[in-house]
């Protein structure tokens, strides 16, 4: 079974150590981990460090994978690059990195399967430049999935999606995590969604870890007050889902660093 744990992780952005001292419990295959925190808290930086795209101290300990560098796949926040490529080609591209020119039937079958699963077959042969922000995010998810990683780091994958699509994508990712026995980290701002779909949560603030553990325990009134400067209650709705009800918003004098 694949597991991952961060041991005293830090990350340099340029010469500045923007994330430091992050040590987490062990996360296991099948789990969804919500990575939460204010804007510019260091979530993307942490993901890039975990994916090996930034340098820094500490160890990302992955066990039970056997895929080496390809074990972890990072899905960056959407870039609006408008290469003259169709959606299908851009997903094929993600699949074929590091391999030869020929495209096998297996590659194409997997791409078709993933595109069908996240319901983007209708835009398969549109150019990337013609897509909406939400469609580009879905394509990004497909590009990440066809690389078949054991650990997936998704940087705000639902920020441009409508509510229906958000629910679909998060439910789908949970299904993928369970079925393929992979670990999915999702950086997300919507804490209600995090509580609904994630098994565990990591809280990052100003480059430091503020909490890690089961979502229901980590996301609490105190966290909302200390990290988000919000007075709120967390109460179950009539169907038992936990919901955040905001009572008041305090001024953010000690705001997060930019």
């Amino acid at each position: 079974m694949v597991t991952i744990a961060l041991e005293d992780i830090g990350a340099y952005y340029g010469r500045r150590l923007t994330v430091s001292g992050i040590t987490t419990p062990i996360f296991s295959a099948g789990e969804i981990v919500a990575v939460i925190g204010p804007n510019a808290a260091g979530k993307s930086t942490l993901f890039k460090r975990m994916a090996g795209l930034l340098h820094g101290p500490g160890t990302v300990r992955v066990e039970g994978s056997g895929k080496g560098k390809r074990a972890i796949s990072y899905m960056p926040q959407d870039t609006s690059a408008n290469a003259v490529l169709t959606v299908y080609e851009s997903i094929l591209l993600a699949r074929k990195q590091g391999s030869g020119w020929s495209v096998g039937e297996d590659d194409l079958r997997l791409i078709d399967q993933v595109m069908r699963a996240i319901d983007i077959t209708d835009i398969a042969f549109r150019n990337l430049g013609e897509l909406s922000g939400g469609q580009r995010q879905l394509v990004g998810i497909a590009q990440t999935l066809v690389r078949e990683p054991d650990i997936l780091l998704m940087d705000e994958p639902t920020s441009a999606l409508d509510l229906h699509r958000q629910m679909e994508v998060l439910a789908f990712m949970r299904e993928v995590a369970r079925e393929r026995r992979i670990i999915v980290f999702i950086a997300i701002h919507d804490l209600n969604q995090a509580m609904r779909f994630a098994d565990k949560a990591l809280v990052i603030e100003r480059g430091q870890l503020r909490g890690a553990g089961p979502t229901g325990e980590v996301i609490n009134r105190r966290l909302l007050h200390d990290v988000y400067q919000i007075d709120a209650r967390i109460e179950p709705c009539s169907r038992g889902h936990l919901q955040i009800i905001v009572d008041s918003v305090a001024s953010r004098t000690a705001a997060a660093p930019s």
């Binding site: 870039t79 495209v103 194409l108 078709d112 077959t121 150019n127 590009q143």
Partner: protein, 355 residues
């Protein structure tokens, strides 16, 4: 949403992709045929008129035609025609990769000052007799041109890597380089003797009449050296067009590939320019034509860029001989005149896909 697959729909995606790939291969084949035709016409065309059959016989079986035809075809027209094809291919390939790694539709050896730098290097040799690379006096002009082109490329590369540098900054930098090297060139021209001035002016116009077999082999060798290196990184170079972060997330070492590509581009842009002089436009337009026709998957984009550049320059070579009977105009003057109408028609018929 479910992982279960409806195979009928999946089949559709696979099938459509295969069809798309085939269509692109047919486009490349079409280019190859057009290039063969243009090349043959280029050899058949000239002040001395020979029948097309004679020319084809002279190409395929030199022993079967008269000495006169053989000498005209093989010693005069063939080097020029071949040089047009190889130079067009090399410049277009250089432009294609510059546009790819700088994420900039305006990038080409000409627009970013690499050709201007090469011109200045050549003029240094022609006017002042200064050799940038010592002990290489035999090839002083091309080597000077190459050294200056390399310098310009490296300046562009390293500044484009600096933090906060945008696509627009790189273009502005390129324009500044064009002006700088043109000013330095004008300075040399002002000081030059009449004879040296004439050779500099002729050189900057770009002319295939300077083609020799030796120059052809060297340029071809550079092209053949560059191709496998680019081909090896085909997927990675395509990924770079999705943005640096995305490419890195696919496991691409963006910095290393950028540097390697820029060095090869310097070689590809400088060598033909140093032999035949400044030829603009083809390095800008060849890749755009390719992009509009086959997109940016490098497996198709590379060969199509090469073919488009080669065809453009080969056709230009034919035109440069056809304007006035008995006169061969320097090809650098004609490239834009031939390419612009074709380029406009493509842009207007294909606006959405043009970058």
């Amino acid at each position: 949403m479910a992982l279960a697959t409806a195979d009928a729909v999946a089949q559709e995606g696979r099938g459509l992709y295969r069809a798309l790939a085939w269509r692109r291969m047919l486009i490349i084949l079409g280019f190859a045929l057009a290039l063969a035709a243009s090349f043959t016409i280029d050899i058949a065309w000239g002040p001395a008129r020979y029948g097309l059959l004679d020319v084809i016989s002279a190409i395929l079986a030199p022993g079967s035609v008269s000495d006169k035809i053989r000498v005209v075809v093989w010693d005069i027209r063939m080097p020029m025609a071949l040089m047009a094809v190889i130079t067009g291919a090399a410049l277009s390939l250089a432009g294609a990769q510059m546009q790819t790694i700088l994420a900039n539709p305006l990038a080409s050896p000409f627009t970013l000052g690499i050709s201007a730098a090469a011109s200045f290097g050549a003029a240094l040799a022609l006017v002042a007799g200064i050799s940038i690379i010592p002990f290489a006096t035999n090839f002083m002009v091309p080597l000077n041109a190459f050294a200056m082109a390399l310098l310009a490329t490296l300046i562009i590369h390293f500044i484009s890597q600096a933090r906060g540098v945008t696509v627009q900054t790189v273009v502005l930098l390129g324009i500044a380089l064009v002006f700088t090297f043109n000013a330095l060139l004008a300075f040399l021209q002002y000081l030059a003797s009449e004879q040296a001035l004439q050779s500099v002016v002729f050189w900057t116009m770009g002319s295939l009449t300077k083609a020799t077999w030796e120059k052809i082999w060297i340029t071809l060798a550079v092209l053949l050296f560059a191709l496998p290196l680019f081909a090896r990184h085909a997927w990675a170079l395509t990924a770079i067009r999705l943005g640096e972060d995305k490419a890195a997330s696919f496991g691409v070492n963006v910095r290393a590939i950028r540097l390697e590509t820029m060095l090869i581009v310097a070689l590809l842009a400088a060598v033909p320019v140093s032999f035949v002089g400044t030829i603009g436009f083809v390095g800008l337009v060849g890749p755009h034509v390719a992009r509009m026709l086959v997109g940016e998957d490098q497996r198709f984009f590379l060969p199509t860029s090469i073919m488009a550049g080669a065809l453009l320059l080969s056709a230009t070579s034919v035109v440069s001989k056809s304007i006035l009977p008995g006169v061969v105009f320097p090809i650098g003057i004609i490239t834009a005149l031939v390419g612009v109408p074709f380029f406009f028609s493509l842009i207007l018929s294909n606006v959405r896909r043009s970058w």
